[in-house]
């Protein structure tokens, strides 16, 4: 029975490891997705624990300000969430923030809370950021289809990229 105990012990270690991994992934202090801008930053707009608990209220509070009153320089902007927390996907673009294993999904999936923001809001950092990263990566293709969602029909044409480049350099 020695071997079976060994297997059991091994399985136990594996389970514990998996559990530790999962808890650090979901509940640990570094919930930010590696490869996102947030990973290299000191803190979010509020301490992590507070953001975890209250981000939905903050977003709702500020969305009303933005939509109804036109106040855009709010602290809790969903676009900023995406800017910081979306991770690069390895091919020069960004992974969609609500896709499996990404920042929003990790927790929302774990907590089984529906995430409705991205039915309307963009899931990756804004258009100019994309072209910037494209320049960094040297991915100046004729059509930069790979930067967009693979299902998406639209893609940046080369001449649009040149325009964007100009704008980016102006900034």
């Amino acid at each position: 029975m020695l071997s079976s105990t060994g297997i059991r012990r091994f399985a136990g270690v594996l389970m514990a490891g998996a559990f530790t991994f999962l808890t650090t992934g979901v509940l640990g202090d570094s919930a930010v997705t590696p490869g996102s801008k947030a990973a290299g930053m000191e803190a979010c707009v509020a301490p992590t624990a507070e953001m975890r608990r209250n981000h939905m209220d903050y977003l709702k509070h500020d969305r009303i300000k933005t939509v109804r009153k036109g106040i855009r320089d709010i602290r809790n902007s969903l676009a900023d969430c995406v800017d910081c927390h979306a991770a690069k996907n390895g091919s020069g673009g960004y992974a969609q923030i609500d896709s499996e294993g990404q920042f929003c999904d990790k927790c929302h999936n774990y907590m089984a809370v529906d995430l409705a923001c991205f039915q309307c809001h963009r899931k990756t950092p804004g258009e100019e950021k994309l072209s910037q990263s494209a320049l960094d990566g040297g991915n100046v293709d004729h059509r930069l289809g790979l930067l967009r969602d693979k299902d998406a029909p639209a893609a940046l044409a080369a001449d649009e990229l040149v325009q964007l480049q100009a704008i980016v350099q102006e900034d």
Binding site: V45, E50, I71, R72, D73, Q119, C120, G126, E127, A152
Partner: protein, 258 residues
């Protein structure tokens, strides 16, 4: 960031810097957090001291030009929607979003031909706002009539009520939305005077820019309440009309030579 950058990076970093301090304080007293954030210099929001409006010189509007329509589609990401596979052209044309459309009219008496762009007329007393059950359709203090997509349930009563057929319903999934123009399936939408530009302090709309770029300059956008604005002075000099003025909705969009 969008092409029309409404939140420059530097500003945001500064902002985050400022708010980290505030957030630190907030761990001690979470209740005051929102007030603190406000104190760091948020803008005051729109005011009813201005009323945005648009004046369209139909004489300058050119028959087959669709520059304004194309610019609007691009600015607001309407072109992200494509004809679904297997749909007929007629159905697609009836269902695709059109915030601004070109219309050609012929006077029944004189036979005069008029070309004009038609969009949300941004009424002072908008029927769409009256009928909306959730208050999603609303009029901002500065006169812009728009849809709060967070509370729109897609009942389409506003589309029934609008005398200008200015509204479109999103009939399909949308992906890769623009940061400045979030939009998705199942909500109603319409022209909002490029509200993201206005909030960023840019005082032109996409259609106006496009029209000027084409050399037509048929569209003037501005503050109706400011007597010194271009739009107000032209309105004083020239005769203009509201479409369906009989409804007494006091539209924000006016037309000359109609």
């Amino acid at each position: 960031m969008g092409k029309h950058n409404d939140q420059p990076d530097g500003k945001r970093r500064q902002f985050i810097g400022g708010t980290i301090l505030a957030a630190g304080a907030a761990t001690v007293a979470p209740g005051i957090l929102l007030t603190v954030a406000q104190a760091t210099g948020e803008s005051q929001g729109v005011s009813s001291d201005v009323r945005y409006g648009m004046l369209i010189d139909t004489d300058k509007c050119v028959a087959d030009c669709t520059a304004c329509v194309d610019a609007c589609d691009k600015e607001n990401g309407l072109d992200l929607q494509q004809k679904p596979k297997g749909q007929s052209d007629d159905d697609w044309n009836a269902q695709r979003p059109q915030w601004v459309r070109k219309v050609q009219l012929k006077d029944r008496q004189t036979g005069d031909i008029t070309d004009l762009p038609m969009m949300c007329q941004h009424c002072e007393f908008p029927p769409c706002v009256d009928v909306c059950p959730t208050g999603a359709s609303f009029r901002r203090a500065d006169g812009i009539v728009m849809v709060d997509r967070h509370t729109c349930i897609g009942c389409r009563y506003c589309m029934m009520a609008c005398p200008y057929k200015a509204r479109s319903f999103i009939h399909q999934n949308v992906v890769n939305q623009l940061v400045a123009a979030p939009r998705g399936k199942g909500c109603v939408e319409s022209c909002n005077f490029c509200v993201h530009r206005i909030d960023a302090g840019k005082m032109t709309t996409a259609c106006q820019d496009a029209c000027a770029k084409e050399g037509h300059q048929a569209i003037v956008f501005g503050d109706l309440k400011n007597p010194e604005s271009e739009i107000a002075s032209i309105l004083r000099e020239k005769n203009s009309r509201q479409i369906r003025a009989d409804l007494e909705l006091n539209t924000g969009v006016r037309y000359t030579d109609l």
